[in-house]
């Protein structure tokens, strides 16, 4: 297949238009997608902040409960009062604990622990399934070796202790046993500011966070890590509390970007996780540090929300589709436009090309877009001009050629066929005569005293005489005969169509008689005569040369004998 200019131009233009549409679409899609991802990250970060705020709220609520209980008169009375009244005080506190725990499903356990007796629990209510359980007697445990007791006892009144988030291994903790737990505690102080005991609330970390996460879209994944980055909450439960089973699983290992967060360099980080476990489903995530302002062994926890990048990008699919459609439409329009443009450019060219191809001398170029004002019009006009020139020159050339051809075959002076044409006609006639077995006659004519005319009246007179002779010869021969001038004052008459031999003499005589007409040159009467030698085919030769020389010889014989007469080559 040959690539025409139209195809080439069209395909290049179409390609360019498709490329432009494609590139624009791609760029728009990418920008839009990045914006979407960014928006998703911002959204995640906002959600993370909301969660963090609610975590704080939960903590503050628990703190308020603790303060209320620490200041509740029965608490202090139970710790320092006489044993006799302790029963009713314990009853009061238990009831209060139960009320609060019913109110707050995230409370696993509430306790009043004394500073004395190695941290013996004095009042304790555990959640056990759906029930609340008052723990009493031997089931009460000594807790002074736990930091939530020893540390809280050192706190001033009204402050709150927050434990590390751990798995609760304290046996007999009922619903809380083996569960992720955070403990909040406040000291119960007497008038002198001595801490006599602590109020402790065990919070159900998982339950609390599940309730928080339940408001989030389903694809949001919640992460929680402690100050060291150990996961406490993770969509994959086996990755939580790794330190508890001797295999730490760290946030900064799974999400390397959070390292800066753990090291305290930043307070929040947005990231895209697409390596390791996230290689198959890349995630977009927001992590933030939640500073803990109350007394705690951890000064911060890290909250994170993640969602699959694909779910973010799902939103961009519709957008991508629209962009694709627009880009596709634009591309097609560009394609069509390119084809039109290519046609528009090449059609006049094709027209011209066809017109030029059809150009010949006979047929002038038509249909050139001469009226156009652009480059194509200019080109067409140039073609037209060129064509006119060519036509003109061709006509001249043709005329010249015809003239040359005439000159080559006719005598310029007399207009009679010259020797060359005569020879051709002789050849043809001889051929025909041979074929048809018919006779043929050649008369060789030479003017008598021609030199005398030249000498006496000049060459103009000679020329005029020759012309007159030629006219006379033509006049006295048939149309079918050829009268030729061999050169000088020699003429030959070829009698082509068969003439009876006996009539030849009369024809020759007629020619001689024609000379008897008076001819004047510039007022002078000139007498012109000539001698004729006649040869015949087949008698006098069967070639042109033989016939001519026979006739010539006959003519000489006449010239030497008498002049102004005729004679046959073969004397009969």
């Amino acid at each position: 297949m040959k690539w025409g200019l139209a195809a080439r131009l069209g395909s290049v233009l179409a390609l360019v238009s498709l490329l432009m549409a494609g590139m624009t679409g791609l760029y728009a899609y990418q920008v839009a997608r990045d914006l979407l991802v960014q928006a998703a990250k911002d959204e995640l970060m906002t959600a993370t902040h909301v969660i963090a705020r609610r975590v704080s709220d939960i903590r503050q609520d628990a703190s308020r409960d603790l303060q209320l209980l620490a200041r509740y008169p029965a608490s202090l009375a139970l710790l320092q009062g006489p044993p006799s009244s302790q029963g009713s005080q314990a009853e009061q506190l238990s009831t209060l604990f139960e009320l609060m725990m019913r109110d707050n499903p995230a409370y696993f356990q509430m306790r009043l622990i004394s500073a004395s007796d190695y941290g013996l629990e004095r009042v304790r209510v555990d959640r056990d399934g759906d029930n609340l359980l008052r723990v009493q007697g031997d089931d009460l445990q000594e807790k002074s070796h736990y930091p939530y007791v020893s540390d809280t006892l050192h706190l001033p009144a009204g402050s709150t202790y927050l434990s590390r988030i751990v798995i609760n291994h304290e046996r007999g903790a009922h619903a809380g046993l083996g569960q992720p737990t955070v403990l909040l505690a406040s000291p119960v102080t007497n008038a002198r500011g001595q801490a006599l005991g602590v109020i402790v609330i065990n919070m159900d970390l998982k339950g609390a966070f599940n309730r928080l996460a339940s408001d989030l879209p389903a694809e949001f994944k919640l992460f929680l890590a402690n100050q060291q980055g150990d996961f406490l909450i993770h969509p994959d439960n086996s990755k939580t509390f790794g330190f508890d089973t001797g295999r730490r699983v760290l946030m900064q290992d799974e999400f390397p970007a959070t390292r800066a967060l753990v090291e305290g360099q930043v307070s929040q980080v947005m990231l895209e996780a697409n390596a390791g476990t996230h290689a198959s489903t890349p995630m977009v995530a927001a992590f933030m540090a939640n500073q803990i302002r109350v007394t705690s062994s951890d000064s911060a926890i890290f909250l994170g929300l993640a969602q699959p990048r694909s779910s973010v990008l799902n939103r961009s699919h519709a957008l991508g589709l629209t962009i694709l459609q627009i880009a596709g439409g634009l591309g097609l329009a560009g394609f069509a436009l390119a084809l039109l443009l290519a046609r528009w450019v090449t059609r006049p060219l094709n027209t011209m090309s066809k017109a030029v191809a059809a150009f010949s001398t006979a047929q002038p170029i038509v249909g050139l877009p001469l009226s156009r004002q652009d480059e194509i019009g200019q080109l067409a006009r140039s073609f037209d001009h060129m064509q006119q020139q060519i036509h003109q020159q061709f006509t001249e050339l043709q005329a010249n050629r015809q003239e040359l051809e005439h000159l080559a075959r006719f005598d310029a002076l007399t207009g009679l066929p010259n020797r060359r044409l005569l020879m051709e006609r002789l050849d043809n006639a001889l051929e025909r005569a041979k074929r048809t077995q018919t006779p043929l006659a050649v008369m060789f004519i030479d003017m008598d005293h021609f030199k005398a005319i030249n000498d006496r009246w000049g060459h103009d007179a000679g020329d005029a005489a020759l012309q007159w002779v030629a006219r006379q010869l033509l006049e006295h021969t048939r149309k079918t005969d050829t009268v030729a001038r061999l050169g000088g004052d020699e003429f030959v008459v070829l009698l082509d169509s068969p003439v009876p031999v006996d009539q030849l003499a009369s024809i020759a005589q007629k020619l001689l008689d024609g000379m008897r007409e008076p001819w004047f040159f510039e007022g002078h009467l000139c007498n012109i005569e000539f001698s004729i030698g006649i040869s015949l085919y087949p008698q006098d030769g069967d070639t042109v040369d033989a016939l001519l020389s026979s006739a010539d010889a006959a003519m000489y014989r006449v010239k030497t004998a008498s002049r102004n007469d005729f004679g046959f080559a073969l004397q009969r």
Binding site: D138, D139, Q141, E142, S144, H145, S150
Partner: protein, 352 residues
């Protein structure tokens, strides 16, 4: 937990581990196939050994007792010539006939070892039916770390942990087995790893008393150092031994280190030769080589582990080690300890 070589586990060993895992396949008569903990067979030492003996050494590193047991069992010990294992673990290898007796005459460098490591009979589990099954190589002991500001005289006995003067100032390690052994030591039992039926209530009482004396319990070295500093502890049972000592000292705490007269519970890694070894002579040469000064020094300098040829600066020649042994019933110890640790009183702890 006690195989404290675990901290040396590092994932950077993994490629090497994978690589050397294949090497035994290429083993020839002049190849020594070693199963080792990271840090026991550094490349430069291995090269020196190869140069001297004209042999090839292929090392396989393991990072836990379980991995070690699995490796050796895989082909009835045929894949290895020599391995490092602790004395408590060694017992099951001997029982399964995976390791063979060692000809100490072929390990002349044992003469360089400290006397307590030469008296193999006194190290429980090393000698069976008169045959020696291991050469001690490295160890870590659980001494007592004390704050020199608060305790002027170094504690001499484990009973210091129960001393009411230090009430609420004692840091302990949260482990069932060791703590029962510790209680047994404080009660004067000759074998702290085997509690008799009648000895349990006393041990439980003892541990409840220990708990009541405790500031708290730790599990990790870093955690212990943090607790020690922040809560101004006076005394600590150093489960990680010298490692914790170094950490505390580098943290600027003025601490001392004491080995109680009852002896410090300690793990001891020994080199053992497999029964199926293809090159017993080379295996013995390897053990002998590692007792030379250079490898022994490397152990201290590079790994912070004690060697058996020189006393560490913080130990005295008279200090006694009580090498860990399998306990009589680890499940029961664990169950009781969980109750004790949760704060139960004696009636509840011993309840069925």
């Amino acid at each position: 937990m006690l195989t404290c070589a675990t901290p040396f586990l590092n994932w950077r060993w993994l490629p090497l581990l994978c690589l050397v895992g294949w090497l035994p396949l290429l083993a020839s008569a002049d190849t020594l196939r070693v199963l080792s903990w990271p840090g026991y067979a550094d490349a430069d030492l291995v090269k020196a050994f190869e140069a001297r003996t004209g042999s090839q050494v292929s090392i396989t590193f393991i990072d836990s007792d379980e991995a070690l047991w699995e490796r050796v069992n895989q082909n009835q010990g045929q894949d290895f010539d020599v391995l490092a294992v602790n004395t408590a673990e060694l017992q099951r290898y001997i029982q399964a006939a995976l390791v063979g007796p060692i000809d100490t005459a072929q390990v002349p460098n044992t003469a360089r070892q400290l006397p307590r490591f030469r008296q193999l009979g006194s190290i429980s589990g090393l000698v069976h039916q008169g045959r020696v099954y291991g050469v001690p190589y490295t160890y870590a002991e659980m001494g007592l770390i004390y704050d020199r500001q608060q305790i002027k005289a170094p504690p001499s006995s484990v009973t210091a942990l129960w001393d009411p003067r230090y009430r609420g100032k004692v840091l302990l390690y949260n482990s069932s087995s060791h703590n029962f052994s510790l209680a047994a030591q404080s009660l004067g039992h000759s074998n702290p790893f085997q509690l008799g039926t009648g000895q349990w209530p006393a041990a439980v009482d003892r541990l409840i008393a220990l708990r009541r004396n405790a500031l708290g319990f730790y599990t990790q070295p870093d955690e212990s150092v943090q607790l020690f500093r922040q809560k101004r502890a006076a005394l600590m049972l150093a489960n990680y031994g010298s490692q914790q000592l170094q950490l505390l000292r580098s943290a600027g705490v003025d601490v001392g280190y004491a080995i109680p007269k009852e002896g410090a519970l300690a793990w001891l890694d020994i080199w053992a030769v497999t029964r199926q070894t293809k090159n017993a002579a080379l295996a013995h040469a390897w053990i002998n080589f590692l007792l030379e000064p250079a490898p022994s020094q490397a152990l201290v300098a590079r790994q912070g582990l004690a060697n058996t040829v020189a006393e560490p600066p913080y130990l005295h020649p008279k200090d006694r080690m009580v090498w860990l042994e399998p306990v009589e019933n680890s499940l029961r110890r664990q169950q009781l300890w969980e109750r004790i640790y949760s704060g139960d009183r004696v009636a509840r702890v011993l309840a069925p």
